[in-house]
Each structure stands twice: as C-alpha cells, then as structure tokens.
C-alpha cells in the first residue's frame, strides 16, 4: 500500500509543479497540497505494512505521538515558528522605504552614473555593483521598482538596448540578495527552525559561500552584459517619463551613502541583530537626511507611514511564506512514502547533487520544482528526507535556482514582470539573455558550492 500512496504523492508533486508553472496562486496551491499530504500519509498508516510502520516512528501514532499533536505541529507550530522570520521581513521592508524616502538610494545611483558618464559598459559595471550593494539591504518589489525607475531610464538613455538594460539590472538585484539578511533568514527557515544550528549565521554563510555567490553572479551578469553590448546596436528613444521624480531628485548627504550596507556589515562582522541594524541605520538615515525635522507627531507619522508602505511591499509574499512552513512540516510525514519510491533514485552524494541541479537549473524557472519560492519547497522536502546532506550545502543547492534563476532570471518574478511592462521588452527577448546568465552563473556557483561547502562535518547535519 505504501507504494501506491508514494506514487499518488509523487503525482501530486508533479501536479503542484504544473500548477505553479501555470502561474496560479502559490498560497492556495501549497495549502491544498499540505491538506492532501496530511490526509494521504496519515490515512495511509491504516493500510501500510507492519514493517513499513515499524521502520518509520514518525508514522506511529499513539499516546506519545498523538494525531492531534501531529496536526497541531503542521497547522499551528510550523507557521508560528516562521513568525520570527516575518518580523525581519517587515523591518527590512521599512528600511528599504527609508532609503527610498531619504533619497539615499537614488543619490547613490546618480553619483555612480556621474562616475561612468556616457560609456555604457563602465556605467553598467558601476551600476551593477551599486545595485547589488543596495539590495544586500533592501528587499521586495517596491524598492526594486523604485530603483528600477531611476536605473532603467538612465541605461536606456545611454543607448543600451532595453532588453540588455533590464537583464543586467535584474541580475544585479539578484546578486545583492545573496547577502541580504532578510532573504537569508527567510530561506534558512526552509531548512531549519530559527533556534536550530545557531552557528549557521549570516556571517558564517557569507564568508563560506555568500560572498562567492554574490561575486560570481555580479561578474557573470556584467561580463554577459558587456558581451551583449558589444553585439548590440545603440538605441535612442523618445519616451515620456510620467512617474513623479520629485523624491528622486533630492541629494542625500555624501556620508549617508554608506548607510545601506550598515545592517549587513553589523550582522556579518559582529553578528549584531538584523532588526537592530535596520533600526540604527534607518533612524540615522532619517535624521542625517533631515527627514525628522518636523514636530514629534509628524515624525511619528512619517516613521509609521514608511513602515506601512514597507509592509505593503512585502504583503503579496507573506501569505505564501506563512503557508510554506505547514508544507515543510507535512513533508516529514510524506517522506517515508517517498523513500519507498525514490530511495534508490535520489542522488545521495554531493557531487551528483551539484551536477544534477546544475543540469536542471532551467527547472527553477516558472516557479518550477527547483525554486524555494515555488514548487522547489516540495523537492527540498523529498530530497532532505530521502538523503542526508549538511544544512549549509543544501541551503546553497536550493539558493542558486531560487535566487539566480527565479529571482534574477524568470518572468514570473513580480519585479521582472513589472520591468518587462515598463521597458516594453518582450518576455522571450528577456529570457534569451537571462537564461544563459542563469546557466553561466548557476554552474559556477555549483562548482563553488561543491568546493566550499562539500564534506562539512557532522556538526552541520541535523
């Protein structure tokens, strides 16, 4: 019977992949699959063989492991546990809004352009570096759009073809996300509970793999952009820019331009609280840029408004991310059935995992079975339960299709979709540039993963 249930679960996994690729609502999709994966594995214990149940204590319900306790774990404790990550997301979104409101982000971009001038490649390279630095701290569609409406017209006014401008901007945003503490906390929660493995900090991750991942993506994106620029023809466009640029035109004081990287540096260098870093750097930005010069009441309203706007920026993801922990938890109950079916098929050595994932990178596109912000959460559930890998290794293996492929190269990413509409680039023209980048970057990152995170000691296993 366990074979039949395993096969049904496997079919439902591919059904979920199809559902995600079709672009349906992720939150509802994961809620439905959680329900199905609760009913089948738990109901399946009534029909499974004695030997199967005996070898899987998680499926032995009784006095010590009651059914209600299991259900509570799935539907209550799991999403509650993710709450600690959610607060990081909210404060990160607030900090992003502060950088936009104070003009720090836009000043950084403008000053960078003033260094590069009309030389497209120099300006692209400099803007890529600055964009990546900015997005080590900022996150969400709002900040990407806010920076995009400054960067993209500049790149296009330099005669850079719009598809190259869009691809290089989105690539550099994604490369910054490799060191973003909010994204790190978000993805870390897919693998372990926040309190588990305290040594797996942003600092450890950055020095062992994160810096390399960022640099690889940044360099690959810039080199490819240079290659495309060499082949592309210069374009001049007459377009009316109607979005209000009032907030983008003010210049923030020079010394405040360092503030975007303060939270990340504090976190990596001192393992200082991420939220503390956001609060310190955020209020410093508001005071130093003269945004707190009103009455106490006005200042309170400003801080409150920025927080509100920031939370709205991240709202579309929150429902999905609060459903995912339920799914991650229920995957533990489904994994014995998967083991029966896939136990001999799933890769068990690190080198094979790296090669297979590098070959299948394209499956991170369209919310496919490789990306954590899509159907990849299900793949992780299966892989981590049928084979044993260290947490940092597994993190890197899934971060690559999630960040490089999905966030940086896929048209299903909300801000990429916005960018396509904004620049009038055809989806296929964007994908023609972004998919080679996803493969070039991804393969190099898997090589780095195997070299830097392969063969970690027992302390890094759960």
């Amino acid at each position: 019977m366990e074979y039949i249930i395993g096969i049904i679960l496997l079919i439902s996994f591919f059904g979920l992949a199809y559902y995600c690729i079709k672009g349906h609502n992720l939150m509802i999709g994961f809620l439905l699959i959680t329900l199905l994966w609760t009913i089948l594995p738990i109901g399946g214990t009534l029909f499974a063989s004695e030997a199967f149940l005996a070898s899987n204590p998680i499926l032995q319900f009784g006095k010590d492991n009651t059914l209600i306790a299991a259900l509570n774990k799935i539907y209550q404790s799991a999403p509650e546990g993710w709450g600690t990550t959610l607060v990081n997301v909210c404060w990160g979104a607030w900090f992003g809004r502060v950088l936009m409101d104070t003009g720090i982000a836009s000043t950084l971009i403008r000053k960078t352009v003033e260094l590069g001038g009309d030389k497209p490649f120099v300006t692209v390279a400099l803007l890529n570096i600055v964009t990546a630095l900015i997005f080590t701290a900022m996150t969400g569609a709002g900040p990407v759009i806010a920076i995009g409406v400054i960067v993209l017209p500049i790149l296009m006014s330099l005669g850079i073809p719009k598809s190259v401008a869009l691809f290089t901007f989105m690539g550099s945003v994604a490369s910054g996300i490799y060191l973003n503490p909010v994204n790190f906390a978000q993805y870390r929660a897919f693998f372990i509970k926040p309190e588990e493995m305290p040594e797996f900090t942003l600092g450890w991750y950055a020095s062992h793999w994160g810096y390399a991942a960022l640099v690889i993506m940044l360099v690959a994106t810039t080199v490819l952009a240079a290659f495309y620029l060499k082949r592309a023809k210069t374009v001049h466009a007459w377009a009316a820019q109607t979005r209000s640029t009032a907030s983008e035109q003010k210049n923030a004081p020079f010394y405040t331009l360092l503030l975007p990287i303060v939270p990340v540096i504090l976190k990596i260098w001192l393992d200082f609280s991420v939220i503390g870093g956001f609060v310190i750097a955020g209020f410093l930005a508001l005071f130093l840029c003269g945004r707190m010069s009103g009455t106490f009441k006005e200042n309170c309203q400003l801080v409150n408004k920025l927080f509100y706007d920031g939370v709205v920026d991240t709202a579309p993801l929150v429902g999905f991310l609060l459903t995912l922990p339920m799914f991650n938890q229920v995957a533990a109950y489904a994994s014995p059935y998967f083991k029966v079916i896939l136990g001999n098929v799933m890769p068990k050595s690190e080198i094979v995992v790296c090669i297979v994932f590098a070959v299948l990178l394209c499956m991170g596109l369209f919310r496919g079975p490789m990306t954590l912000v899509g159907c990849g959460a299900a793949t992780l559930g299966v892989l981590s339960n049928v084979a044993s890998f260290s947490v940092p290794f597994l993190y890197a293996v899934f971060a690559i299709p999630t960040i490089t492929v999905n966030i940086g190269s896929c048209i299903t990413q909300s801000w990429v979709a916005w960018g396509l509409a904004y620049t009038k680039v055809e989806s296929r023209d964007f994908l023609k540039l972004s998919i080679p980048n996803a493969y070039l970057t991804g393969v190099l990152q898997y090589v780095a993963t195997f070299i830097m995170l392969g063969g970690l000691g027992a302390a890094w296993f759960l």
Binding site: V122, P153, A240
Partner: protein, 258 residues
C-alpha cells in the same frame, strides 16, 4: 441613524468578514486634470530655449551642471539641430521626413504596442538605420485633433508620425557626422586623477538637438517637447497634467489651475 449611515458603519465589519479587503497598493501621485487645449496653449508659448530645465531633468549627469551651463548648452544644441536640418534638407532637396528617411536608406516600422502610463514610448532609432514609430501613442494623439482649437494651435494638418520620424532622423544624422557635430564633440570632464580622466558626452545634447532638428524640418513654432504632454494625454489626462505642471515649473511659469 439613516439607512445609509448604518450601512457605512457596518461596512468595515462586513468587508472583514466576507473578505472584501481594501488592500492598499502603490498610489501614483494625483494631479488636477486640465483640458488639453489649455495646456497646449500654455506650453506652445514657451520659447524653445526656455525648455532647458525640463530637457536636462532627464539627463543622467544633470547633477553636475549649473543653470548657466544648461541654458548655454540648450542654445548650442538647438542651433546644432537646426543647422543640420537645413544641411540635410539642402542635400536631399526635400523637407518631408518620410522622403528624407527614404533617401537616407532608413528602415522604418510602425508597431502598435499597447503602452502603459508610467513610460510612454513614442519612437526609437536603432543604429545603423532602423526607426520604430509606435503608433499606439500616435493614434491616441490624432484623436485629440477633433478638440476645439487643437488643430490650429499645433499647425493645421500636423502629422505626428512625421514629427517623431524627424526627431529620430537626427540621431542617424548625428551618427553620420559624429566627428564634427556639436552633440558628439562637446564633452564634459567627469573626473580626473593624475593622467587618468573620464570625459563624457551629454545625452541631453542629442535629444535637444533632435528636437531642434524636428522643429526646423516640420516648420513649427513651438518646441516638440510639448508632444510629451499631448501624446500622454491619450493614455491618462491626469499623468499628462502632471507633466504639464512639471514643464511649466521648469520654465519658471505658474501652471494654470484646473
């Protein structure tokens, strides 16, 4: 309590219970909508040189320049555009942008992509000889010719696609004469460090000169920059009013109230 007041009082509760959440999304700035004829009237009165502040507001290096420089470069760039318009018209013995384009061997297409209001694309020139005139914006603009006074104001029988084509033709002319033309030879020093230095062209020079070129060829008295408002109006009168306000303030004038 009246029925309406009672309904309003209950609305938040029913919305909460039955899922009619009023989610806040990004709100674009709001502007008072003015009639297009009034806006065109005001903008057409602005002398082409007085557009310098608006023209440079889209320039990536704008932060490095002062008002005096902007005004001086505006005059020089406009003069450059007009000079080359005369040169080209003499060379090809026509003032019709379509015939000029044909004589220059241009490959012109007229795609009809739907546009969004945050960035309305009118036309593009791609090196060496491709020009795209985006007809969605043009057709929306042509519908406005029926409005009273517009046709007279913008010159009887103005062909918008020809105006856009003339603008883009300048970029081709610029490529042909890049060794001598002002827009390509005038450079600004961005930084220098010992023997290292970075001198750069200014993108705004090209765009301003292209406006001067188009104005000269089409024989119009106003700056073609007013097309930014005219063509956006077909998509969003509110966004066009926002642009109008910006242009008027840039020209040191007070925008009329709605």
């Amino acid at each position: 309590m009246k029925k309406e007041e009672f309904r309003n009082a209950l609305k938040p509760i029913t919305d909460g219970l039955f899922g009619k959440q009023r989610t806040s999304v990004y709100e674009r700035p709001h502007f008072d909508v003015r009639p297009i004829e009034d806006m065109m009237n005001d903008l057409a009165e602005i002398d082409p040189v007085e557009w310098y502040s608006y023209a440079f507001s889209r320039e990536p290096l704008n932060g490095k320049f002062n008002e005096e420089q902007r005004k001086e470069w505006m005059e020089k760039s406009l003069a450059c555009g007009r000079e080359y318009a005369q040169k080209v018209c003499e060379k090809y013995q026509t003032r019709d942008p379509k015939k000029l384009a044909q004589a220059m061997g241009m490959d012109i297409s007229f795609p009809e992509f739907p546009e969004k209001t945050d960035r309305v694309l009118f036309a593009e020139y791609r090196v060496p000889n491709k020009i795209c005139i985006y007809m969605d914006a043009v057709k929306k603009g042509e519908k406005l010719f029926d409005r009273p006074g517009i046709s007279n104001l913008l010159t009887e029988g103005l062909d918008i696609s020809r105006l856009l084509l003339a603008h883009e033709l300048f970029h081709h002319v610029e490529e042909q004469y890049h060794h001598e033309i002002f827009t390509k030879t005038e450079k600004v020093r961005l930084w220098s460090l010992g023997f290292l230095r970075n001198d750069s062209n200014v993108i705004a020079f090209s765009e301003i000169a292209a406006m001067g070129f188009a104005q000269e060829i089409m024989g119009i008295t106003y700056s073609p920059y007013i097309m930014d408002v005219f063509l956006v109006y077909g998509y969003s009168p509110e966004e066009a009013s926002g642009l109008y306000e910006e242009m008027m303030v840039c020209a040191g004038r007070t925008p009329r109230t709605a």
